[in-house]
């Protein structure tokens, strides 16, 4: 199923991989693999279709290639073999036709010399948008992450969680169609992380954002995702996918429900299996 059938083009394969989905795919990963120059096999050939509007989480033991996969999706890296399609086209089409994506890193990566509003305005400035047009968008994005009061502050005056919010506002300000997040809340305490997860799920729902999220946290994955991809290491591959069937938007009540606990148990079982040294491919 993973390999390209004889005589089959990538476009035909794309049809096959996403067949059955009722929504169009935002990104398709088609037999993409990544081998680094030193011979490390970070990803064995992977097939994955990311549907528009879904919240997809990549989770797995370290070395399973989840960050590599995210970088492939962000076009920060080229696959060694196979290819990726963005909205059924190659990467050049992103940026045209109003298709935009935004990336949120593990660190807030803010400019320390710029105030919060200037930091959020950065992507618009880099796209040469005039200030008059950008300012209302910036104010709106800052308001969405609840930092309006702090828009004239410098990053050093903010807490870790607030800096991460600024980073998210900077991602939202371009109204992206695809939001890629690489363990954005990994460095935060659990309380702050839960709060930001609540906000994120609300923003995702309001904005109909397609999101690909990388995390280490089982609870975070279950709370946020519509679909979870469990990955295994040596070589990096998809071990199992799990759908989280829960109405939107989610809130604390979901976290407290037995359903949530059951999902967490299931996910943690799959993760444990994926982390075994001799883990062989599970049905996905």
């Amino acid at each position: 199923m993973n390999a390209l059938s004889p005589g089959e083009s990538f476009e035909e394969k794309a049809e096959r991989v996403t067949a059955g989905g009722d929504r169009p795919p935002a990104v398709e990963v088609l037999s993409a693999e990544k081998v680094f120059a030193n011979g490390t096999r970070a990803l064995s050939p992977i097939d994955l279709a990311i549907t528009e509007g879904e919240f997809l989480t990549l989770i797995g033991p370290s070395g399973c290639g989840k960050s590599t996969l995210l970088k492939l999706i962000a076009n920060l890296m080229e696959p060694s073999d196979g290819r990726l399609l963005w909205w059924r086209g190659d990467f050049a089409r992103v940026g045209q036709e109003g298709r935009r994506f935004a990336f949120v890193f593990q660190e807030p990566t803010l400019m320390p010399w710029a105030r919060v509003d200037a930091n959020v305005r950065l992507p618009l400035e880099l796209a040469d948008m005039p200030n008059a047009k950008a300012n209302p968008l910036v104010a709106d994005a800052i308001a969405r992450v609840g930092l309006s009061v702090f828009s004239r502050h410098y990053p050093r005056q903010l807490s870790g969680g607030m800096k991460m919010r600024v980073s998210i506002a900077r991602a939202l300000v371009t109204s992206p169609n695809l939001l890629l997040m690489d363990e954005p809340f990994g460095a935060l305490d659990e309380f702050t992380r839960n709060k930001l997860d609540n906000d994120l799920v609300r923003l995702w729902w309001e904005r109909k954002l397609t999101t690909v999220f990388v995390t280490h946290s089982i609870y975070e994955a279950v709370f946020l995702s519509t679909r979870i991809v469990v990955m295994a290491a040596n070589p990096g591959r998809i071990f199992r996918t799990m759908t989280i069937d829960q109405s939107q938007p989610r809130d604390q009540a979901f976290r407290d429900s037995p359903k949530f606990a059951a999902y967490c148990r299931e996910l943690s079982t799959w993760l444990a299996k994926a982390s075994l040294p001799a883990a062989s491919g599970g049905a996905s």
């Binding site: 962000a74 990336f103 990566t109 992507p123 880099l126 796209a127 050093r156």
Partner: protein
């Protein structure tokens, strides 16, 4: 209103001033009691009297030295920054030219000054060139270091947003390099003065230049030791003033965000 002695700003100024006053008083009283002759080592009061007598000529000398210093400092800033920009634009340029920048730095200005003074007719220009050579290196090396020390995450972010070279330079590299650049200014301002005085010493008695170094040389020949001290005092004062100006400038530019200028919040 806090009592004066608890005020940080007051103590920072008052304490060194008090030390200075005590030292000057001890110097004055000690040398008076031991009756050290003026031509061996003058007392503060002798130096002060010399100021009053030689005021106009010392001030003229100060202005001459100051002019050379400031011209050289300005030239070093412009040249140093341009060279640093060139270095970060291309690794090849940096690799091929940096050794020569080091060469410039390690060659003593005393050794080069006679050559420059012979080659360049205009005394003022030759002095400025010598002082610039001394002041240049810290600006080049610090600014280059700063322009290179870009937060890799931010650099990645700029790349992802398809920011061009110029935009990355203006919005990312230059602001990030400012703390290093100001560090370079502090060192360089002092070096410009040293370079100016050393070059004046070399050009010295022969030329028509009348900087502070000339005053010191001339005072030495006539054994007018208090005048020598007065000129020395002016050089020191100029150096301190330049340094303080650079500190103030750096505080003005960085106080909002950079760790070096942020005072602990209480």
């Amino acid at each position: 209103m806090k009592p004066l002695l608890q005020s940080e700003a007051f103590v920072r100024i008052a304490a060194p001033v008090a030390v200075g006053v005590v030292l000057l008083t001890l110097w004055e009283i000690g040398f008076r009691l031991a009756s050290v002759p003026v031509y061996l080592f003058p007392k503060p009061s002798d130096i002060f009297t010399s100021f009053l007598h030689n005021g106009p000529s010392l001030l003229r000398a100060l202005l001459a030295t100051l002019r050379v210093t400031l011209q050289a400092f300005a030239a070093a800033i412009v040249l140093g920054t341009l060279i640093a920009f060139m270095f970060v634009q291309s690794r090849a340029i940096e690799v091929s030219l940096f050794p020569y920048a080091v060469l410039l730095q390690v060659t003593p200005v005393v050794a080069v000054a006679p050559l420059v003074i012979i080659l360049v007719k205009n005394t003022q220009a030759s002095l400025t060139i010598c002082a610039t050579l001394v002041a240049l290196f810290p600006i080049i090396s610090n600014t280059t270091l700063g322009l290179r020390s870009v937060d890799p995450g931010l650099a990645n972010y700029f790349r992802m947003n398809r920011a061009g070279r110029l935009k990355t330079l203006i919005k990312l590299r230059i602001p990030g390099a400012l703390p290093y650049f100001f560090g370079g200014l502090r060192i360089s301002s002092g070096l410009a003065l040293i370079g100016a005085v050393v070059a004046e010493f070399v050009a010295g008695t022969g030329g028509r230049s009348s900087g502070l170094a000339y005053e010191i040389l001339d005072a030495g020949f006539t054994l007018d030791i208090p005048r020598m001290f007065a000129a020395l005092f002016l050089i020191t004062l100029t150096g301190v003033a330049l340094f303080a100006a650079m500190v103030a400038l750096s505080r003005l530019a960085l106080s909002n965000w950079h760790e070096s200028e942020i005072r602990a919040e209480t």
